[in-house]
Structure formats: structure tokens, C-alpha cells
Symmetry: C2
Subunit: 415 residues, 2 copies
């Protein structure tokens, strides 16, 4: 039996135990895990150094090495993340609905764990702990398949977590790490219907595309964000400038940052030069439509491909539009249904935008950067779903649960 | 452009209009559709006769021809189904949550249509109307791909519905029928990410398996049911006998009927002969474990394959078990997470069964046949989801919706 199948089966074998754990039992286990990470931090850092060294020898960029790097501060932060998960309410067992039928049947709809969650992700070893904590808190078993560049770190982290679980009611086998670094292990997970209940990809666009295109196991798609800010004719200048600047520059590398700024032609004529200057002063490369190029200097032509690109970088497209309808059309064509914003003082335009734009989160007069589990107050973030099934937008703990109908009767049969 | 892509694009182009329709506008359209089916019934029956004749020439069985057959009564029933959908509350626009963040952002989570739904189904032409009604009521556009054996009926039905929509606010292009009867049209739909938001298969096991294995579009899986009834030691004889008989015999062809009866050994010793006689009198073929064969006559050996088969027929497996744990193990191994029942007077056993069995619907002292949208009071049934994501169990109208966060601010930016 392959490593993937063997470990997934072991995970599944714990599902009926996991399903029955109380919140207190799970929290006790999570706290043990947090403590163990801190007390074993030297061995984790030593293992991480192996990954760093191997990466450096392979020519990995310093910025990627920095994402991979663990030190005492970062491990303390990861452990603190687990402790924060402990503080969150456990959704498992929550009664979502109850109803009685005329025939006397009593029906309860309750939250239950999904079962076994497959996580497929890239380099950062903090995801190993984060995903383990979120899945175990919600009574799920989890099969982790991290990137090969963090394999030594991930292996040591999971050893430490397994040791921590030994003295708890939470079965250590509920946490599995796939060590096979080949693409074949990912491919096998994607087809493991019957053992894995869902696969969640976390990483870059190509990782996510591979999962979506090849999985027969249900997927929760996360990630890609081509987000827009539309500055309407009636927008307040300062507010519009601040929101647009924040959406692009505060953290360009993330999915809820802005890629294209749409500006009403009247507003553009009066104010775009001032807004653009602020972007250029922050070293944002500007690409624009022809009208934008006519207004501004230092702007190259934005192509259709540019409008369809998630830069995640200090690059911004600017397009001048005739009004709300043209902005809506652009967003419908190029958006990825993640986060979209209108800045306007026109209540009708705001209402239309909030109603008509098809996206996980739509904003009136606020930065798209708020699409985030912590900013929404969920206290944790498994990811931001960009699909429409199951969960959409920032996913809190309930997104890691399913439901079950419990029906009690007194001998009812169907006529 | 292929028929599938062209019609799916047309459907998608209506999504922003569909999204904005009021319940009244949609209900008016549905009532027009219902009236048109009745007033055009002769042309629909004539088209249906073509399908029946072609089927008969192709050697289709009489029972399948009966499922395909339309007459005035059946068309009246189909129209009545649309009128019942009109009576249901429209979930679109419902506010599911609202919260204010410390920074002043106001967040609303509302129900929105899924967008464009692809339905892939088999012979019965009533599904064409049923699916159209449910999807349009929830503000979705729908691309229907029915079975080739009902193509003439489906084509005429959709013509009639399109004519009915001409005088309404609901764009006729929101309803599309794929007429290409080849397997290629199904395959194309399954990969149409970006145009279709979800695919829902309705039909036999092989149709559903094809969709699950090949779709890159998200799927809501429906259907397969290997359901069990466990008669515990303490069960009341009459109740147990009635529930088991109902679960198997009342309508064996459907997914919530029982395939395997698990019986506690003490109960079996005292009462199984009596229960089995009733099944045999109803011409149910019995297959059993060795203990069952020792107790009863006229029982053939049940194989592992039998336990893993959804008969949908007058065949029943009987297995005698040592107690609850063995019953739970059998269900975990062979069940399809659809509907499972325990008959017992032991409250602890009932509680354990309801808690530990991983299925969409778990029953204490009631027939599994109640897993049904109408029986649950949802007033309509899109299908019974056997997956854990998005919707599980009988799906009412909310299962055809997604959600959206609407965030309103006053210039908030992220620090």
C-alpha cells in the first residue's frame, strides 16, 4: 500500500473517535501541541536549518528562504496561533435547525466534522501547524502534504506534535504527514475518494489549478484574486485616494490586494494625476488604457492580458471608464469573484454595485484588503474561498464542518 | 463555438439580470410556464410520442418507456409542481448574518444565486421542468442536458417554456437545453469552469460516477444509497418489523430504501423467522450471512459484493450481528453515508447510533424512506446530496444558492 493510502486510511480510522471528542478534549490536545513546539524548538530549528541549507544549495531566492525560515520568535508565534484556536468556539455539535413533522418525526440538523481533510500546500512550515490546529479543533483528521522544500521542518514538527498528542485523548493518527515529495503523492491524494472527504489547496495559482483540474475528491478552492477598486464620479478625493493606495500598496503580495483601478472619466480628469503621483512615489509601476496614457506620464499600455493578471506585486493597471455600467462590465469580465470595491457618495450606485457585482466580498467605501478571517472577526483563517459552493469568502471554523440530520421517531413508516 | 459553450455563455449573460429579479417577477414567470405547459400539452404529447416510438423501435423496456411517457395527467402534475415552487419562499437576498467591526465596517452576509447551474440527467422529461423551475426560482440560469431518449419531449417542452417567458421579466436565455445527444456534450459541460458554477447530476450510478470523476466544475453529488436498518436486542417486534418492511418494500427503486437488514443475534433468534416470512411473502429475495442461513430457509449466501451493492430492487441482505458495535462497523464499511436507522428501546444505543454513524440522515425508530425534501417539509426536492460539502441530505431551495459579503464603510483602510 502506498504511503498516501496507508496514512489516509489511518487518518480515516480515527474519524469516529475524532467525531466524539468534546471541545475540552480537543483544546487540551491543542495546548499540549503548542507547549511542545516551544519546548522542542531547538530540534525544529535544527531541522529547519537543513531545509534552508538545501534550499540555498539549490539556488532558492532569499525571499523564499525567508518564508521558509523558522526561529524562536516565529515558533512562539506559531504556538500562539494554536492557543488562539483554543479560544474559538467549537462548532461541532451545534444545532442549526430543529423541526417537528406532522407525523411526529423530530428532526435536528447538527454540525459534524467533515471527516478527513487533505491539505496540499507550499513552502511555509507554519501552515503545517496552522492547518493541523484548525482541522483537529473541528474534529477532523488531516492528511498534510507540504512542499518538499520544507520537508525536514515539517517532519520534525509533526514528530513533535505526535509526541504531544500521546498523553491526550486525541488520537495521534488523526494527524498525518505525507513525506513523499514527488508529484505522484499529490496526484494520488486528489483521487482518494472514500478516504479523503475534501482537499484544500493553499498556495500559488499553479498548485491550485492542478488541484481543481485533477481532483475527483471535492475541493475547496482558495486564493486567486484579481480585485478592482472603482472610483465613481461622486467619490471624495481623499477617501478614494486612501482606499486605492491601501488596496494596492499595503501588502501587494496577497490575494485581496488591488490589481486594477477603474476611474470615472470626470473624476479622472480632475484628480487622477494626483492619485497616480502617489502610486509612482511608492514605486508602483503603472499600466493604463489609452485615456489614462493621455492624462499621465510614465504609464505604459495595459493589455487585455494585464487586466487578466494577478500581479501580486507593485504593478497597477488603471482604466478610465464612462461610468458604473462600464466598470461593472470590466469587473464581470476580468474579476475572479474575490473582492471588489466602489468608492462613491452616490447611494444608488453603491447599492447597484453591492447587488450586481458577483464576488465573495463587495465593498462600498472601504479597502478590499479587509477580506480576511481575522478582519471579519472569525479569529482564524483556513483560507479565502473563491468558489460558490460550501463556503465563500473568508472561511472560519464552520467551513471545516458538514451537517447531519438526526431523526427520532416512534415507529413512523412512509405511506 | 460549440453548442454547449454558446448556450452556456448565453445563460451566463443573463446572470446579472437573474440576480436582480424579485420573487414576484420570478413567480409570475413560473406561473406562465405552468399555464403554457397545460395549454400546449397536445404538442408536447405529440413530441413525447416520437420519443416513445423511437424507444420502442430501439427495444427499450416497457418500464423505462413508462418513465418516459407523458400524458395529460402527468403534464398537469408537472405544471402543478411548478405552481408549488411558486408557493415556496425565495431564499435569494435573505440576510444570514450581520455584524459590525470595531473599525466601523458593517458586514452583511446575504444569499445570492449560484449563477449558472448545469443539470445532467436521464430519461424522465419531468426533470426538465422541475429543474428549470427550481433553478429559475432561485435566480439561477440553467443549462439542461437531458437524456437522448427524451430529446423530442425536452425540445418541445423548452420551446413552450421559452414562449411562456417571452412576456415576462425573466430572460428566456436563462433556460438552455443542450440538444447534442453525444457523450461529448456532457464531457464539455464538465470542464466548463468560468461559465458553469456547478454541475448537478441526477440519474443512475454510472452517470453520477462519470460526473464526479471527470468534472472540473464543482459538483453536487446526489443519489447512491446503500442504506441499513439495525434491529437492536431491545427493539419492539412490531415496530421493528414494520420499519424494516417499509424501508425495503414501500418503494425499492429509490435511494433511501434499505439494502441490508442488520439484526442483533438475540432478537434474530426470537423473531427473525417471522420478519423474514413477511419479506418472502412480498417476493423479496433474501440473501444472508451464515447465521441467517442457519436460522432461515430459502436464503442464499450474501457475499461481500452483495453488501456493497445498491440493489434498488426486491432483494435484501440480512446479517446477524453480535451487537451495536458490529452493526456500526458494518455500516461504516458498506454504507454510502445516505440514510441509516436503528430500531431500539435502549436510549444509550440510540444516542450512540445517531452520534457515531456518518450519514446524511440517521434515524431512531423510523423508516429511512423519510429522507426526502417533501417529507422534511422543504416543499421541493432538487435531489439528496450524499457529499459533505455545501449541502448534505435532502436539498431545498437554499442548496441552489451561494452567499456574498456586502461590506459598507466610510473610508476604512487596513493598517
Amino acid at each position: 500500500m502506498s504511503e498516501v493510502r496507508l496514512k489516509s486510511q489511518k487518518a480515516k480510522d480515527t474519524a469516529s473517535i475524532m467525531n466524539r471528542l468534546t471541545a475540552e478534549q480537543k483544546n487540551t490536545a491543542l495546548l499540549q501541541m503548542a507547549d511542545a513546539l516551544v519546548s522542542e524548538q531547538q530540534s525544529i530549528i535544527a531541522a529547519n536549518n537543513e531545509d534552508i541549507e538545501r534550499g540555498r544549495n539549490n539556488g532558492t531566492s532569499e525571499s523564499l528562504l525567508d518564508r521558509l525560515k523558522l526561529n524562536e520568535d516565529r515558533i512562539a508565534g506559531i504556538a500562539e496561533g494554536l492557543r488562539q484556536i483554543v479560544q474559538l468556539p467549537d462548532p461541532v455539535g451545534n444545532v442549526l435547525e430543529t423541526f417537528d413533522r406532522p407525523n411526529g418525526l423530530h428532526v435536528r440538523k447538527i454540525r459534524v466534522p467533515l471527516g478527513v481533510i487533505g491539505m496540499i500546500y507550499e513552502a511555509r512550515p507554519n501552515v503545517t501547524v496552522d492547518a493541523a490546529g484548525l482541522c483537529l479543533k473541528t474534529g477532523n483528521a488531516v492528511v498534510l502534504r507540504g512542499g518538499s522544500s520544507a520537508l525536514s521542518s515539517n517532519r520534525r514538527i509533526v514528530e513533535v506534535l505526535h509526541q504531544a498528542l500521546a498523553d491526550t485523548d486525541l488520537p495521534a493518527d488523526a494527524l498525518q504527514l505525507i513525506e513523499d515529495p514527488s508529484r505522484a503523492s499529490v496526484d494520488e491524494m486528489l483521487k482518494l475518494n472514500g478516504l479523503l472527504d475534501v482537499v484544500i489547496p493553499r498556495g500559488g495559482a499553479s498548485l491550485i489549478r492542478n488541484v481543481v483540474e485533477n481532483a475527483t475528491v471535492p475541493v475547496i478552492e482558495t486564493g486567486a484574486g484579481i480585485c478592482h477598486t472603482f472610483i465613481d464620479e461622486s467619490a471624495q478625493l481623499d477617501m478614494a485616494a486612501d482606499i486605492a493606495f491601501n488596496a494596492k500598496v499595503q501588502r501587494p503580495s496577497v490575494c485581496n490586494s488591488m490589481e486594477t483601478l477603474l476611474v470615472h472619466e470626470q473624476f479622472a480628469a480632475a484628480h487622477l494625476a494626483q492619485i497616480a503621483a502617489r502610486f509612482q512615489a511608492a514605486n508602483v509601476e503603472l499600466r493604463g488604457c489609452e485615456k489614462t496614457m493621455a492624462l499621465l506620464s510614465g504609464v505604459t499600455k495595459a493589455t487585455e492580458e494585464d487586466y487578466a493578471t494577478e500581479y501580486n506585486d507593485y504593478i497597477l493597471n488603471i482604466r478610465i471608464v464612462g461610468g458604473l455600467d462600464e466598470a461593472l462590465e470590466h469587473i464581470a469580465r476580468f474579476g475572479t469573484m474575490h473582492s471588489e470595491c466602489i468608492v462613491t457618495e452616490n447611494a444608488d450606485h453603491a447599492a447597484r454595485f453591492l447587488q450586481e457585482v458577483d464576488a465573495a466580498a463587495v465593498y462600498h467605501n472601504a479597502s478590499t484588503r479587509f477580506t480576511d478571517g481575522f478582519e471579519f472577526g472569525f479569529g482564524a483563517e483556513i483560507g479565502i474561498s473563491t468558489q460558490k459552493l460550501h463556503a465563500r469568502g473568508p472561511m472560519g471554523l464552520p467551513a471545516l464542518t458538514s451537517t447531519k440530520y438526526q431523526v427520532t421517531g416512534s415507529g413512523q413508516i412512509r405511506g
